[in-house]
Symmetry: C2
Subunit: 245 residues, 2 copies
């Protein structure tokens, strides 16, 4: 590839001079285009900031009304096609004590956002009132990072321990990239590809009502073959996990 590129550019001296002049002209036009792009981004960001402020009181109002519906958020989680995939039975029980779920974008939007899970006082699982997972999308030069609240589990209900001790065959079906809800919450190793966080921010948070109202209906398997394949996949996962243990 490199050699063919060089061949293309080979030419005599006069043409080279004309070319070099033309390249400088292109560069200068390109700078003007880049400047316009930057101005466009700034203007779009201002529009987004304006509407973020305008939406805020409505989100607050929504949060207050949602509090009146017991288990609203855990139901929306359970009915969400991807988020539901995280929830172990015990985690779902725990999330019934979550009375508020919020996504807050940072003031300048582009630098990051935080997801806040607020819980009832005195629930049996952990001491924290609020669990926060915060994404800093490269405001500093080190690139995106995420931080989560350290969960102060009550010893007899420490799901991070209890779930890892649970026999595999009594756990819910998982896909290959297995992660439970609290695994996801505490994992900050790959903040760039946190698909769950993005779904919470861009899909669940903008309109949770649709998930609360419409359960993720399981499609009845139409032929036995497909069903068989699914089971085969599950067996593979279990075998792999057993080998690791």
């Amino acid at each position: 590839m490199a050699s063919s590129a060089k061949k293309v550019k080979k030419s005599n001296d006069t043409t080279l001079e004309a070319e070099s002049e033309a390249l400088e002209q292109i560069d200068s036009v390109q700078n003007e285009i880049d400047a316009l792009n930057e101005k466009a981004s700034e203007e779009i960001l201002k529009v987004e900031q304006k509407y973020n402020s305008l939406r805020k009181p409505f989100f607050q109002k929504r949060s207050e009304i949602i509090k009146k519906i017991p288990s609203f958020w855990v139901t929306a989680f359970v009915n969400h096609p991807q988020i539901s995939g995280l929830l172990e039975e015990e985690e779902e029980e725990c999330l019934h004590f979550m009375e508020k779920f919020e996504v807050e974008e940072f003031e300048d939007i582009k630098s990051g956002y935080r997801i806040k899970f607020s819980f009832e006082e005195n629930h049996p699982y952990f001491e924290n009132k609020v669990l926060t997972k915060e994404f800093n999308l490269g405001a500093n030069n080190s690139g995106p990072t995420s931080v989560s609240t350290a969960i102060k589990w009550k010893p007899e209900r420490d799901l991070s321990k209890l779930l890892s001790q649970k026999p595999l065959n009594s756990r819910r079906k998982r896909n290959l990239e297995y992660k439970s809800f609290f695994d996801w919450f505490s994992d900050n190793t790959d903040p760039i590809n946190d698909e769950i966080a993005e779904l919470m921010k861009d899909d669940l948070w903008p309109n949770p009502l649709q998930y609360y109202l419409v359960p993720d209906i399981e499609v009845e398997p139409e032929d036995d073959e497909a069903e068989g394949e699914e089971e085969a996949d599950d067996e593979e996962i279990e075998e792999e996990e057993e080998e690791d243990a």
Copy 2:
């Protein structure tokens, strides 16, 4: 999943009434949020349209200067890490006659765009002066579609025929999803996932100079094992294609 969602929502009658009232309130707040979202989208689109108009004269100026540099566009194609992967040797030769490459977004931006390849008069490959591939992103209800100009090949230089007759081992290395440039151009079966078109629009077109100037340098293989794997892959492809023939 569905059963567990139902369980969550099971409750007594008074609570159900209160819940239903709360749900209506949420729905009404949600409508106000949706209306704001729509207004935000409209405003952002207006900003984008404004800057598209502002950028246009600079793009035109850039196109005029680029014409002074022979083989500018084919060089940028050859140096582009993904687009280069399309180019058969004969196609690269043909694209030396392309004097203009343009991407035009439709007036309202969201409804689509077209990619235009303009060629010198009287070149040896085809009769068309301009080849266009146009993407309609669902302005009609039938979803995205794409259309390409029918190429009027000169019989002795019909690359669509010549390339398919060429022995496989004299063709360039290909990855598994093999497609040549004119294969890509004429293929309108999957307009939603046309990665090449998107790279042309969002990567090459905004700044082609970076690709003209910096050739895609081939990294020297560091160990023999990796090199061996690559060759093995190629053999697999050839075998598959031979079986099809």
